[in-house]
Symmetry: C2
Subunit: 500 residues, 2 copies
Amino acid sequence: MKTEYLDRIRCASLRGRVTSAQDAARWIKDGMTVGMSGFTRAGDVKLVPAALAERARTEPLKITLMTGASLGNDTDKRLTEAGALARRMPFQVDPVLRAAINRGEVMYIDQHLSETVEQLRSRHIAPVDVAIVEAVAITEDGAIVPTTSVGNSASFAILADKVIVEINLAQPAGLEGLHDIWIPKKRPLREPIPIMSADDRAGTPWIAIPPEKIVAIVLSDQPDSTSSVLPPDAETAAIAGHLIRFFEKEIEAGRLTQELLPLQAGIGTIANAVLAGFADSPFDRLTMYSEVLQDSTFDLFDAGKLDFASGSSITLSPEKSRQVFRDFDRYRDKLVLRPQEVSNHPEVIRRLGIIAINTALETDIYGNINSTHVLGTHMMNGIGGSGDFARNAYLSIFATKATAKGGKVSSIVPMVTHVDHTEHDVDIIVTELGLADLRGLAPRERADVIIEQCTAEPYKAMLRSYVDEAKQRGGQTPHVLEQAYAWHTRYSETGSMLEP
Amino acid sequence: MKTEYLDRIRCASLRGRVTSAQDAARWIKDGMTVGMSGFTRAGDVKLVPAALAERARTEPLKITLMTGASLGNDTDKRLTEAGALARRMPFQVDPVLRAAINRGEVMYIDQHLSETVEQLRSRHIAPVDVAIVEAVAITEDGAIVPTTSVGNSASFAILADKVIVEINLAQPAGLEGLHDIWIPKKRPLREPIPIMSADDRAGTPWIAIPPEKIVAIVLSDQPDSTSSVLPPDAETAAIAGHLIRFFEKEIEAGRLTQELLPLQAGIGTIANAVLAGFADSPFDRLTMYSEVLQDSTFDLFDAGKLDFASGSSITLSPEKSRQVFRDFDRYRDKLVLRPQEVSNHPEVIRRLGIIAINTALETDIYGNINSTHVLGTHMMNGIGGSGDFARNAYLSIFATKATAKGGKVSSIVPMVTHVDHTEHDVDIIVTELGLADLRGLAPRERADVIIEQCTAEPYKAMLRSYVDEAKQRGGQTPHVLEQAYAWHTRYSETGSMLEP
Ligand SMILES: CC(C)(COP(=O)(O)OP(=O)(O)OC[C@H]1O[C@@H](n2cnc3c(N)ncnc32)[C@H](O)[C@@H]1OP(=O)(O)O)[C@@H](O)C(=O)NCCC(=O)NCCS
Ligand SMILES: CC(C)(COP(=O)(O)OP(=O)(O)OC[C@H]1O[C@@H](n2cnc3c(N)ncnc32)[C@H](O)[C@@H]1OP(=O)(O)O)[C@@H](O)C(=O)NCCC(=O)NCCS
């Protein structure tokens, strides 16, 4: 056995379990529920799912696949193309899988990311038969040291009958010590989560399970897929600018200090760009209590703006990834990766008082948010952790560009076609055009501010006339029900929300 | 001074502050924000608001009124009729105020009940100038002992500059000791809420404030308004029956024990009737961790089914009220009243694992819930605490009768016209016709179960054909957008959702 293996598989009795991905994949039978590591493409298992997809091409094999969040390495694509996915939860971002979901071929259970393992523990959903977890190492006692994400891996490994570990030699050994695995006790013995600050540690740096549950170990050296977020542009810079000015005013008003409060930023290009914009801000000694740590987190470390970041995964662009993992010692002590149940837990989010920045596909004039369903029907990605944060944040901010599809779609509409976040969970809406501060406003007042501050012409005038007509009919939240989705149906028919 | 006063105002230095309601009301000036005690009609202040309404008839006086939840004694009605309400939050149930809200005359900020004081503390909303709190007594140290509700009274009194106390001699002195006032520390010193079980106590039995803040004391002897919920009927009994059978199956499956888990039940006739139905159930040693304790709580105590109930208020029918307060010593040790921030706190709700039973006005085939907006526009009451519980519950149940308005309205519709609770926060939907267990199902599957189990003919057939057409267009959550609200617009036009 090569020396690396000795380092990486320190529990001697498990060394005999090293096998091929194909052999490991045989533990998975048709109809099983499989829990895989992986959160926003980071720390996912690479070889066993590929072997599984291969097998599904030639024999009947359909599984329920649970993960932390999205996977990299085309795993969702391969499994979908092989017809191997019966059900999928709680999140995905893959175009091929997305299309299959929208055709109704894969049953997709879109969930608040903090809730999946709670439902497993309560046995409200089918138990995980096999967990497959990527690790940098297995300790002397057979505990698993995860790689670039924790996600749901710990609970999957604890709750599953059988565990397959992919030891990834391409993941830096220096990741060891980064994780903080805390799992709640069973009710009625459940205790408070002992996290009072973003940098608190509550658990162990590994996932402790009975080593005999590890039925197979596969060695891999395939890197994580890198992130596909686009760089900041003029519009995302404008959004960041509005937010920076807003926070400056909050500081002036004595509601915040230069340190703000722990930040969360959602997935995607916009949230990343907004956070990156904070490198040129007067704020200082920032902390993050977030899910995914993207390029912007490390930009802020490098700019000397950020003191500490807590997350559930690290997902970087190719260049950033090379730099960060080369200089990892610079960042190590400023990072912790937690189970998503903890990173996203309402208890901790409320306690710490998080500033949450998430992204909308569309928002309506009353501040309800659609982050998931294009035209109310077709799934984009999923709600992810946005609800965990938006509901419980000190300040819940939603960012979006004012228009999409070259101006043919307004991101501000009379009524969202799908509600992921209700008006109660939205304090601030910001587009490149401006920021709507909705705190303490009633729906009619919210409409005025959102239309005035955030909306692009000529949609602004269209929204004003919608609201005027709606108000004639009265109500707390005035609408012209038979016209509420006229913009969306026009877009479906003509390719534009604009009046011809 | 009468001896009762000596008992009830034990802080001698405050006795000189006793004054008339009219004089006390003079502390409130035009444009102020006033925080009043009162939650689901219980423990509200009675005389000062009446004096305030009187004054508003003859001089310019418009206030922002914050409470725990709804008020009794026609306070909202009187203040509305006097034109004294500029803004109102976070909840109401008064028909006159409701009409003014829906005309756009009063700005109503409908909130998750756990969040109001958090927003005050963060200064996201205007500060409370004057707090007016009903009390059974003021202690030697000038601390306030609330009456039949805690609601937001403690934080209002702590955060306000000035406090007016209404000592209500009609409220039983035996209420003293019932309350448990726990207030979080300021961030970053905020700690876990030390409640691990429904009967845990974490704070003090009074609201401690500097006595000099108490600027006026008014003596009243007006009882709480009684509850207006209707008695159980055949349909609510059927709903209770479906739920009892469901829980029996959960016990058989080993997911619950005879004690179930702490119960929450929402406001209104249906939730009360459902809980009352548990008196004839096999369950035993139940506990409640809820907001308002209605008649059903005491029915369950009397039936020997309930061991303990935690709430934020006690609101009873006239007969029940007489009996309960006559025999109060029988119940005292089995009750605690908490600030609504604590009774409804996501942290405690998730920790304890609550079974939450709330009521929908309408639900759609995918399990999104509208509990507040009739036809998507007109406010009924408000979201109240339903979101605090539904989002964080172990099991989130929504009950509704299958139809309303004599069958002319289906409570199950293609798409709800307003979303208070998204499909992610809804595990079970139950009507008198049956129960839909939605756990672990994707939207298309949810639609099949909801239509099959819960819907009344002929709406069932209409929903089936809607879904069939929608599926042709595809999507995770199929819809025919231009038809989504056809039922509602038909109802507006013809008085019925049925096809002519
Ligand atoms: C909402 C979300 C898709 C935005 O992603 P983003 O990369 O920041 O935003 P973009 O503006 O680049 O939009 C992404 C795509 O949606 C399209 N889009 C945006 N608004 C749209 C709208 N109103 N209607 C239709 N399509 C729209 C864009 O055109 C773009 O499409 P393309 O990829 O074909 O060019 C993404 O943030 C998301 O999935 N959020 C939900 C989950 C979440 O918030 N998680 C956070 C915690 S995990
Ligand atoms: C939803 C809610 C109004 C139901 O109240 P309820 O008394 O149990 O239910 P009912 O079926 O008797 O309905 C109440 C009224 O709504 C009407 N209604 C019910 N469904 C309706 C629908 N789909 N469309 C229009 N009206 C409807 C009923 O006809 C009835 O009207 P009426 O008073 O004119 O007869 C009430 O539970 C509520 O306000 N909930 C929101 C707040 C909450 O859940 N709080 C819990 C924690 S505080």
